[in-house]
Amino acid sequence: MPASMPMWPRPWLPPAETEGIVAQLKQMAGAVVTAPLGWAARAIDPPLRLWQRLTGTGGMAAFFLLPNMAIFGVFVLLPLVINFAYSMTTGGALFLSDREYVGAAQYAQLLDCDDYTDPSTCAQDQFWTALANTALFVVLQVSLLIVTATITALILNRELRARSFWRAVFFFPVLLSPVVVGLIWRWILQRDGLLNAMIIPMGLDPVNWLIERNWAFAAAIGVTIWAHLGFYALILLAGLQAIPKDLYEAAEMDGTKPGRVFWRITLPLLMPNLLVVIVLALIRAVQVFDEAFVLTGGGPGTATLFLTQYIYEVGFASLLKNPGLAAAASILMGAVLVVLTLIQLAISRRNEKKGKLK
């Protein structure tokens, strides 16, 4: 046998659970659903074979992409393009043809500030306030979310009884609609809400949680974490479970302290998942809207007014709508998001490369 026995890839097998899932899904969907689906899939095969013969794989790629991209183009891309056009126009009219072209005037209006460090010197002071609030929110919310999600994942990864129950406990709020989340917490936190009712008997002074600026901001952060924690904890949990157990056993043999195990083994191996979580959390944080809107309505004052709410109110919700200004604001916001996209891309590229090397 040659000395340089190459490292052949192990035969690929899906995760053990896959087969169970397929069987389960089949059972659940039942013949009623699968039979017509299967029939339809068979029926379109002959024409597709012809198409494949005529156009080759390039044509097939087009075929597979077409339905999604058609819908995507009409209902996602086109609105974005129209939005860009809106940002160059003024007036309250809905159709572009009825709107007056003003060039970059809306952008000029948004960017018109005497002193960029002080929103109150800007023509659109609330846009800048919203921008500053959003930035602060993103930084605080994402970092806190990452920490709590990591702790939760670490704890759920321990050898617990009824692990799926605990998992469900933390995941459950992900199922609630953002409106419901906002409503529940508003009731808990308002002046005559549940929280104050609970702390008064403890001898504490009631706090007007949603009226004190800092508390309201903290509430917006806390409630959004409450709502999303489970999702991110699950992604991290998946990463933790993929870390080979023998690494921990080796560390235990070496007498490594738990803290050191975490920093030197767990964290580095969790990094790919952690990066995904950070990027997703960043995107969601920049988009923060529903929960915060229902919870604080942007108050007190404008302490929790975020960009999306500003855009929604200016362009849609107020009685005198100004879609042009809102569109311009959303394009500026988009510019920020593109930067985040590039980060996301870089990360996923790096992960793909890593995957290939393995």
Partner: protein, 427 residues
């Protein structure tokens, strides 16, 4: 021209999508309706009765959230779609979309006579069209928790008491009864515009363009901010939101957290249901300022929409709903003040409530409607009203939250209103 093209396009697209859209059939009349309380059920009853009498007309009642009327209806109308009839509060700003019912009505004179006083609230400036009628007349005004006042041993201020008198009295109650605050006003520019007018404010310039914030508005705004800062005015309501979001303080009044509450006549039914036997309450009318003791009128109007396919049927529905007997029954059952001159002047409305607080309260509002000062009376028929109200609520609450000074706020209000006017095309 352009709207026609658009509708052709829409129709073509609808064909393309086959039966996906439920196109309106001839003989169908769609009513978009929002409810604050029981009026949705009452109108459904009335419409069912109408359909029994007119089997050829099918009236479909779409109950929607107020948000839909407020935010989406305008866009539907812009697109040349929408219901046939809608219950709307933003009457003046959308006036260009309403249908002139005059040629379709059997007796336009009846409408002119009974609803004519408020016709300007919903038609374009200078028009003589009949677009619909007010389902209810509302008037802003105060409510006092009589029981709290009695327990505190404070006399309820009289009819000519000023705002300062009222707040002083309510503060005594606050101190004695340990309530959260002395009073609250709903978070709405509309709500403070009556009091502003009582201090001499006027928003409307000679050319019907908005005027800058004047001394009257400033006088009341300063008081509001001062009252908020020293804890007399419930901070939550105004400070707890940004923008022009509406927030009511009714729950705080119901909960006896405030002895005095400035809201409006529409709250009567709500207060009656929720307070029940909890305490006694009275309507107080509007406290006085230096220029009067004015509230602000308002109301929700039921209007016909000009994109309807069958205006004749729409007119029939409107005639039925606007008839004196129906208006009377509607008002009695919903505890709303009727905007029908004949019904209002005839009096003798049998309010459908056993609550002893309800009758006197409604009577008080009718009485207080005589105190509306001209500057306030002109507001409902003014197209920039919503813009002005929105800016007031938005900016004054920022002052209360400590984000702006009053002077900055005034400048911002003027700028916001000017911007809104400019964005709307300035016409």
């Amino acid at each position: 021209m352009i709207p026609t093209m658009k509708r052709t396009m829409t129709a073509l697209a609808a064909l393309g999508f086959g039966m996906m859209t439920s196109a309106a059939w001839a003989g169908d009349v769609r009513v978009m309706w929002y409810s604050d309380g029981v009026e949705g059920e009452v109108i459904a009853d009335l419409l069912n009765r109408f359909m029994e009498q007119n089997p050829d007309i099918n009236v479909i009642l779409d109950n929607v959230a107020y948000k839909v009327v407020q935010e989406q209806l305008q866009i539907q109308l812009e697109a040349g779609t929408g219901p046939d009839i809608a219950r709307v509060t933003n009457l003046k700003a959308l006036a260009s979309h309403w249908l002139d019912l005059t040629p379709h009505l059997q007796d336009p004179a009846y409408w002119e006579a009974n609803f004519g006083d408020y016709a300007d609230w919903m038609r374009e400036d200078g028009s003589t069209a009949i677009n619909g009628f007010l389902t209810q007349l509302t008037l802003t005004g105060g409510f006092a928790n009589k029981t709290l006042f009695e327990q505190a041993g404070v006399a309820i201020p009289g009819d000519d008491a000023t705002w300062d008198d009222w707040i002083a009295a309510a503060s005594e109650v606050q101190a004695s009864q340990q309530t959260a605050a002395a009073f609250a006003i709903d978070r709405s520019g509309h709500r403070i515009s009556g009091p502003n007018a009582s201090y001499g404010a006027n928003y409307i310039g000679p050319d019907r363009a908005p005027l800058p914030v004047d001394a009257g508005t400033k006088a009341f705004a300063e008081k509001l901010v001062a009252w908020t800062n020293d804890g007399k005015m419930l901070k939550d309501t105004w400070v707890s939101a940004s923008g022009s979001t509406y927030r009511a303080a009714a729950d705080d009044f119901i909960n006896a957290a405030i002895p005095f509450y400035y809201s409006g006549s529409w709250q009567v039914a709500n207060l009656s249901t929720k307070i029940g036997d909890g305490f006694d309450w009275v309507a107080t009318g509007s406290p006085c300022g230096t220029a009067g003791c004015s509230g602000l009128g308002g109301g929700a109007g039921l209007v016909a929409i000009k994109y309807t396919q069958n205006p004749e049927d729409v007119a029939k529905v409107m005639e039925y709903l606007g008839s004196a007997a129906v208006v009377k029954e509607f008002s009695e059952r919903t505890l709303f003040l009727p905007a029908h001159k004949g019904v209002a002047s005839a009096g003798g409305l049998a309010w459908a409530s056993e609550d002893p607080n309800v009758g006197p309260a409604l009577d008080k509002f009718v009485e207080a409607s005589g105190d509306i000062v001209p500057a306030a009376a002109a507001l409902p028929a003014w197209k920039w009203g919503s813009a002005y109200y929105g800016a007031l609520a938005n900016r004054i609450s920022q002052v209360m939250a400590g984000e702006l000074t009053l002077d900055d706020a005034y400048a911002r209000i003027d700028a916001d209103v000017a911007e809104a006017v400019a964005a709307a095309g300035g016409n």
